[in-house]
Subunit: 134 residues, 2 copies
DNA sequence: CCAAAGTGCTTGCATTTGCAAACGCAGGTG
DNA sequence: CACCTGCGTTTGCAAATGCAAGCACTTTGG
């Protein structure tokens, strides 16, 4: 059985097996053993093993530790776990700019304006693919 | 029992009482009772009460449900909980721009350039206005 | 040939989460 | 007065997290 979404009235449910597979994937890719990652993440190796196979539903703290051990952002892992919603790319940019306290109000507005301009500019072209033009 | 911030070699530790106070703050501001928020978040009201007073350390799932009930972003709550590291404002902006696939390479560079210009512009004036609740 | 060290996994167990069922207290309403 | 409805909280208790200890297997190598 695959990554089952329990899907009650609520939409925030942790995708247990999905996150496990993703972690194992990342660990394999990094050529680490279970024990190695466990040590780096400061989690016990049996527990990490169980998490990877979807037998356990790790807490937020454990998840962030594993993320650190894997050197990936906790947000990435949380999105995979279904804990954080996957935000659209533009949403990330606009909210991050909007909440950047190091900018003045004018600067924020300017940046957002430019960004919006770029967005609509690209909207005009059909954008058949997200190709990397040189 | 207090707001202990364990701070081992790892930096990711959950600030129990801090998150509780923040939740209660948000709930009061929204003029909701414990039971109302509990129902909206699909969490039991006694448990929510305990979380707010820092007696319990809610899991990631519960936290995201509460965030939904409060209509605030889960990320905000997670940052408050110390689960997600508070990224520096500029870091968020630059990385989000850099990874925005809806932009062309030129547009990305332009935005980052403008942003950097703003940053150094503000660097001149000293403004360490870091207001924390005191 | 068999110790030593590596891999991942299973098994018990202390600790914790999270909830249902209460409790004590206010404020209306009949 | 009793009766209800809502508030936040306390109290057990089932269920889950997360770990230490140990298992079975493979590889190294003296």
């Amino acid at each position: 059985m695959q990554a089952l979404w329990v899907h009650t009235a609520l939409m925030a449910r942790i995708d247990v097996s999905g996150i496990g597979g993703f972690i194992r994937e990342q660990r394999d890719q990094a050529q680490m053993s279970v024990r190695q990652l466990a040590k780096a993440a400061e989690v016990s190796n049996p527990y990490l093993s169980q998490v990877e196979r979807g037998l356990r539903k790790p807490s937020a703290e454990i998840l962030s530790r594993i993320a650190q051990g894997l050197r990936i952002s906790a947000e990435t892992l949380y999105v995979r776990a279904g804990i954080l919603a996957q935000r659209e790319g533009d949403e990330v940019v606009t909210t991050s700019i909007a909440s950047d306290s190091t900018l003045t109000e004018r600067q924020r507005a300017t940046l957002l304006q430019i960004y919006a301009a770029f967005q609509s500019e690209n909207q005009a072209q059909v954008t058949p693919r997200e190709d990397e033009e040189s």
